[in-house]
């Protein structure tokens, strides 16, 4: 790593000077279709408020893939080959020039145009760029992650504990109340783990003897970080237990650390935590509700003693205080149980219909509020004090998560909704409060907390209902006039979901190993393979015969819809999707949360599709050749090298991009920063730019999300995960990937393409689902055979006569 740095800087310098020349030739007016006075106004204002972006960062973050700014494919290939063969010189300056200079010139010119003022970029982001962006563009109902754990029911079953419905709900109520009480401590855990280890890694890096271990410290910790209290935690609550484990871990590392290093680390950690921890806890606290405004959400914090836990039962909402009256103490379990006994026994009131409001665009809620009936508004306001809603109504586990959550779930002003499926629990989490990783972690933690309570409750005698009720039931019925208003309000796009666990992850892992054995530079991560194949899938997708038959059948009654579906397929194959990958930014600075990375797989540039098929053809020919194998091998060998080199180039490019994103320098972050500094009216103005200005749009938003939360901890019972989508209507697909404890990779797809709404409107939800499922299945199956092909290609080597054994094997694998 160290020796790459000079060449990186050199490349940046070189590129920057290239840019200067390039930028002079680009007319400012061509970049934007804003009128000149508008441009001037923007320039003037922005120059006052926008700090300098990091130009090399912008350049390096993958601008090469902007539409219409491509370098010739042939040139790219040459460069990539050069890159691959020039083993040490991963960052060949020449490649950089070609790769990045052209498109980067645009952004450089744009930034130059804005006369960036050179202020401290972070000063305007007390909560990091992502927090700003989330409140600004991840506010709708679709901007929620949802995940599922099965541990509660599985472990109770394994331990022969049967809970009645009162105790089932009480266990989760207590878990929720405990969660609220411990939330600050949990956030402190999160913060301390990241910062103390990052600082320690940093401190140890200066110590020459230590380098081996230091880079992996956080990984080491991740592997041992507990998500539940084990037997040795009988006397500790979860946050205390986890802190203890961390301290033990750190102590072990510190044992061999020289005292001065240790002391410097300690004082730095202390200073940092004094400065930042409190802010972080405030930023991430779920003790707040969201107040929708025209341009974004405001988080309004409230006191713990005011917090309620919302219970949804028979579609009606109830609020049960999380604390004993007038105190910060959690409601004691016995009272909670008695209240819940009474609640579940109460005759149910007429069901609420808040789910229709949940789908209304948040920006129009302030307006709606003034017109809806005051009773409803009043209780919607009361509901805001429940950061956690628990739905006791059981929802079928067989539904895809994206569909399962389409039920009573508040109106989206709160952090978390928990659904019971009777067999598992599903957690629906606002992106403003949770990132994918933290969200799944919390689900795990809450599940274990609920289990702990379940174990306790199972020891108690049967519950008796409370005499005095401290829960309130909310009146959230919509009058006909309200229903009209809600229907007229703008809605979020319709969605259809699909899930698949068909990807053969073992084969993926084996291929990675095989690649690595073949050449150290062939460093493709599982995620790289998934993203790469997503681009191939987009370009090659063909609907299954079953789906085609359905569409054809539809053309008898709705020819125009059927035609549009055919068009959908065709268009899809023509666009190379720009993929937004959330990269964890919290490791060093927790408040930064996420850096978005936009990737457009250079399929065309690297000519990957035809390289693949040609290499395969040559391989077949080589394997089938009966005589002069040497010649055939030479042909295959040439393609094999070129193809693998291109793949290696792709891997290098992605890992660089990720590295840059982690440093907070990706173009996407730059663009967010740009937005954040603007006064509101200007934000509005700039918000229109994406439609006019393809560049920014692409940078900022991408066409789809691809979020892989990785493999869960060995004892985890997380099973499924769907990812949040930001509010941009351009974004049409959201891919979520998670690998569970049984090593099954589950891929979920949320489909927001326009046909979904069309099909729903003609009552063909089934067809919409079929289309999404077909698309996802094709991805999973296609990926499997792609991996098989790659494995064959990389395994093949020079041999004049392949033994019958290898031949057989490769045939079988087909």
């Amino acid at each position: 790593m160290e020796n790459k740095k000079p060449s990186y800087e050199k490349a940046s310098q070189l590129t920057a000077s290239d840019l200067l020349t390039a930028a002079k030739t680009i007319s400012v007016q061509q970049l934007s279709r804003l009128s000149l006075p508008e441009v001037e106004a923007v320039v003037e204002l922005i120059s006052k408020v926008v700090p300098a972006g990091n130009v090399p960062g912008m350049i390096l973050s993958g601008l090469s893939r902007l539409p219409g700014r491509r370098i010739p494919a042939q040139k790219m290939q040459q460069d990539v080959n050069a890159l691959f063969s020039g083993v040490e010189q991963i960052l060949d300056q020449a490649v950089y020039g070609a790769f990045f200079a052209g498109p980067a010139a645009i952004i450089w010119g744009y930034q130059n145009l804005l006369k960036l003022a050179g202020k401290d970029p972070d000063s305007a982001f007390p909560e990091g760029a992502w927090q700003f962006y989330a409140g600004y563009a991840l506010r709708e109902d679709t901007a929620r992650h949802t995940n599922e754990t099965h541990g509660f029911d599985t472990l109770l079953r394994q331990n022969n504990i049967q809970l009645n419905s009162v105790d089932r709900l009480t266990a989760w109520f207590m878990a929720a109340a405990t969660c609220l009480h411990q939330y600050h401590a949990l956030l402190e855990n999160e913060w301390q783990e990241r910062v103390s280890i990052a600082l320690l890694e940093e401190a140890l890096r200066s110590d020459p003897g230590q380098t081996q271990r230091t880079r992996r410290l956080y990984r080491e910790w991740e592997l041992m970080r507990p998500y539940r209290r084990e037997e040795d935690a009988a006397n500790y609550d979860y946050p205390a237990y986890r802190r203890l484990k961390l301290e033990r871990f750190l102590l072990d590392v510190l044992k061999s650390t020289p005292t001065p290093v240790r002391e410097a680390w300690e004082s730095k950690l202390k200073a940092t935590s004094q400065q930042e921890l409190g802010d972080y806890q405030r930023q991430m606290s779920i003790l707040a509700y969201l107040e929708p405004g025209p341009y974004g959400e405001t988080r309004v914090p409230f006191k713990l003693s005011d917090a309620q836990i919302g219970i949804i039962y028979h579609d009606s909402y109830y609020l049960l205080p999380a604390c004993e009256q007038g105190s910060n103490k959690p409601l004691d379990v016995i009272s909670a149980r008695a209240q819940i006994t009474a609640l579940l026994a109460s005759p149910f009131s007429s069901p609420s219909q808040l789910s229709s409001l949940a789908r209304v665009k948040r920006a129009s809620l302030p307006g709606l509020r003034t017109k809806l009936n005051p009773m409803l508004v009043n209780d919607i306001d009361n509901l805001r004090f429940a950061p956690i809603l628990i739905s006791a109504d059981q929802h079928s586990r067989s539904l895809p998560l994206s569909e399962l959550r389409q039920t009573e779930r508040g109106i989206g002003s709160h952090a978390l909704t928990i659904f019971d499926t009777g067999d598992s629990f599903v957690f629906d989490q606002s992106h403003i409060f949770f990132d994918g990783a933290w969200g799944t972690a919390l689900s795990e933690i809450m599940t274990n907390e609920a289990l702990s309570w379940a174990r306790y409750l199972s020891l108690l005698p049967s519950p008796t209902p409370a005499g005095t009720r401290i829960y309130t039931s909310l009146t959230l019925q919509l009058q006909p006039a309200d229903i009209d208003l809600v229907q007229q309000a703008p809605h979020i796009p319709s969605e259809s979901g699909a899930e698949s666990d068909r990807v053969d992850i073992k084969a993926c892992l084996a291929l990675r190993k095989q690649f690595k054995q073949r050449n150290d530079l062939l460093k493709l991560t599982i995620n790289d393979l998934l993203v790469l194949y997503r681009a191939i899938h987009a370009a090659t997708y063909k609907p299954s015969a079953k789906l085609l038959a359905e569409i054809n059948k539809l053309s008898e009654t709705k020819p125009e819809v059927a035609a549009s579906l055919h068009q959908l397929v065709e268009e899809g194959s023509r666009t190379n999707p720009s993929i937004l990958i959330p990269v964890d930014a919290s490791l060093k600075v927790p408040r930064e949360r996420i850096y978005p990375l936009n990737v457009e797989v250079p399929l065309m540039e690297l000519n990957l599709l035809s390289l693949h098929s040609q290499t395969m053809r040559m391989l077949d020919a080589y394997e089938d050749a009966t005589q002069d194998k040497t010649v055939v091998y030479a042909g295959f060998d040439q393609y094999q090298r070129l193809y693998l080199a291109s793949l290696a180039g792709f891997g290098t490019y992605l890992s660089r991009a990720k590295e840059i994103a982690t440093l907070g320098q990706s173009a996407s972050v730059g663009a967010i920063k740009l937005l954040a500094h603007l006064p509101l009216p200007l934000q509005k103005l700039l918000d229109k730019i994406p439609e006019k200005f393809d560049l920014l749009n692409n940078l900022l938003k991408g066409r789809e999300v691809f979020s892989n939360v990785g493999a869960v901890a060995p004892n985890s019972t997380l099973t499924r995960f769907i990812t949040a989508k930001d509010d941009n209507t351009q974004k049409q697909l959201a891919w979520g990937v998670m690998t569970d404890a049984k090593n099954i990779m589950r891929i979920t797809l949320r489909d927001f393409r326009p046909h979904v709404a069309t099909l729903l409107s003609i009552g063909r939800k089934d067809l919409a689902s079929l289309i999404t499922q077909d698309y996802l299945d094709a991805y999973a199956e296609g990926l499997n055979s792609f991996i098989r092909d790659l494995s064959r290609i990389s395994a093949a080597n020079r041999q004049t006569i392949p033994t019958s054994k290898t031949r057989k094997l490769s045939r079988i694998k087909k």
Partner: protein, 567 residues
């Protein structure tokens, strides 16, 4: 013929009735009139009373073990040598010993559910590992020394046979031949920690097959078999056992201590993964939430067994043994119930090593009247109070079968000065009782009263001899224990201070705190912030307990235990 001890009082303990008799001692049920709690009192048998070496060893060891705190070791409260009696008082365990539990299973033709096997095994192993760490070998591990409380706790007792390894050997064998390790059978002084683990292996063999590996009317012959015979294959007795389980048991029963599992934890880990090969998919439940009013901590099936006495209630179906486990196994009876063991020197001659003899007779519970506490019916769940916060602490509960103590019981001054524990300065003798326990790494305060006293009213500080250090005297303020949830210490709960950073901490885990610990303050070893007041420094011998700034009690640092009262 009335037992002369019954009705007598020793120290604070009134002797009420005989619980049972072992090889060298009698165990009585008694009552601690001062702390108003039940106790078990073990009196050294008359035969040994006149052996001053043994008698003083008995008392000394008991005193030393009074400082131990382990969840699975019966807590010793007090030991003394007075009025011609050597005795110690210990925690009274309301339940049954493992040998009786095993008999009950045998009578029903069943084997213990795997989960219980593991739970009992792990508890015993953990207690042994703890003792071994302190340099003590138990030497008399057998089912009758493993007590299973009605609330499900598993406790190991009777370290009375144990010899401090540092002391060397008395050369006598007090062990029981069914469970004795080969090296102990040869020479008592050869016992090593792994000897206890061998005995544990025998217990596990017995639990899993229904019979002990070596059985013979002659104890000498049993001992000889332990020395020289390979144990029978457990699978030949219980074919349902897997080869993996068999391997674990046979390894535990290796003749050479070095070939056995070296610690109890390792033995149990191996047994667990053998008994539950698909454990990866099976995850245990997390512990109960912290700070809840505890009802019972146990798994039900154990309770059921522990509660089960003469009225043989059929299972109501809820607690069937683990699926896949044989419902019944035909096993031969362990040994004739009335068989008296005959001990002699035959074996001694056979193996040519002198200086040992069995002293032990087995008095049969079948001939003795059933202990009254066991005759009380099992606690039906409906008897539990609706609100656990109102639960009477089992530590304070008086069994209803006992005559209530009259208020005219002898006053405090008539009791002899305790020798194990320091008498607290009793400033508020009518006040509310709190207890303190500590060791090198941990300090605990337990509320034994039902009074709600603000934690911030307490403070503790060491009384330093060195006046120079007066200013920076180590001191702890009770408010530091306060949290959002707790501003006072609820009835029967503990708060604690545990020093963090020691590499080999035997942290204390006081049984008396099994209700819950509401708060843990954790100073570091290297920089404790002046909070650690209970460790002897600069010659200090006491610390004081302050109540609203005034001294309420003084406690001796070396005692490890102290009671005090606050208004």
């Amino acid at each position: 013929m009335k037992d002369p001890l019954i009705g007598q009082q020793f120290s604070n303990y009134r002797i009420e009735r005989l619980l049972g008799q072992g090889g060298m001692a009698m165990v009585y049920y008694g009552h601690d009139i001062k702390l108003n709690r039940p106790v078990a009192i073990k009196f050294i048998d008359r035969r040994y009373k006149n052996n001053p070496v043994y008698a003083s060893r008995f008392v000394n060891e008991a005193r030393m073990m009074g400082k131990w705190r382990h969840e699975n070791i019966i807590q010793i409260y007090y030991a003394d040598d007075t009025q011609g009696h050597s005795y110690y008082a210990m925690e009274y365990v309301d339940g049954q010993d493992l040998s009786k539990v095993m008999e009950l299973y045998l009578e029903e033709g069943e084997l213990m559910p795997i989960d219980d096997v593991l739970r009992i095994g792990k508890a015993t192993a953990s207690a042994l590992d703890y003792a071994h760490l302190q340099g003590i070998i138990h030497r008399d591990i057998k089912p009758s020394n493993v007590l299973i409380a009605k609330d499900g706790r598993v406790l190991l007792g009777d370290f009375g046979m144990a010899l401090d390894v540092r002391d060397g050997s008395m050369g006598n064998i007090f062990g029981t031949p069914h469970y004795i390790s080969p090296e102990q059978a040869r020479r008592s002084a050869d016992a090593v920690p792994q000897s206890d683990l061998y005995s544990m292996g025998v217990i596990l063999f017995e639990i899993l097959t229904g019979t002990v590996p070596f059985n013979d009317p002659s104890p000498a012959s049993i001992a000889l078999q332990h020395i020289s015979e390979p144990p029978p294959s457990p699978r030949s007795i219980n074919p349902e056992l897997t080869p993996e389980v068999e391997n674990v048991i046979l390894k535990a029963l290796e003749k050479d201590p070095q070939n056995r599992y070296q610690t109890g934890a390792k033995l149990m880990a191996a047994l667990e993964s053998a008994l539950k090969p698909n454990n990866a998919a099976r995850i245990s439940l997390p512990p109960l939430p912290v700070g809840v009013p505890t009802v019972r901590r146990s798994n039900l099936s154990i309770q059921q067994i522990a509660n089960r006495e003469a009225p043989k209630q059929k299972d109501n179906g809820e607690q069937s043994p683990i699926a896949g486990w044989p419902a019944t196994v035909k096993v031969s009876s362990r040994f004739g119930k009335t068989n008296k063991w005959i001990y002699g020197l035959l074996l001694l001659l056979l193996i040519g090593i002198g200086g040992w003899y069995f002293t032990k007779g087995r008095s049969q519970p079948s001939s003795a009247p059933p202990a009254p506490t066991f005759a009380s019916p099992p606690l039906p769940s409906t008897d539990l109070p609706a609100l656990p916060t109102e639960t009477v602490s089992p530590l304070l509960a008086t069994p209803t079968t006992l005559p209530l103590l009259s208020s005219a019981t002898p006053a405090l001054e008539s009791s002899p000065t305790p020798t194990v524990f320091v008498t607290p300065t009793v400033k508020y003798p009518d006040g509310n009782l709190y207890s303190l326990f500590w060791n090198d790494t941990s300090f605990y305060m337990l509320n034994r009263s039902d009074a709600k006293r603000s934690l911030s009213a307490f403070a503790f500080e060491r009384i330093d001899i060195d006046t120079l250090s007066q200013e920076k005297r180590d001191r702890f303020e009770g408010y530091q224990w306060e949290s959002q949830r707790f501003t006072h210490l609820p009835d029967s709960f503990c708060t604690s201070i545990t020093i963090y950073g020691d590499q080999t901490p035997p942290y204390m885990n006081p049984v008396d705190c099994s209700f819950g610990i509401i708060s843990v303050i954790q100073p570091r070893f290297d920089d404790d912030g002046g909070l650690v007041f209970w460790r002897p420094e600069s010659g200090a011998t006491h610390f004081r307990v302050l109540w609203l700034g005034e001294e309420a009690a003084r406690c001796e640092l070396a005692a490890g235990f102290c009671d005090f009262f606050v208004p």
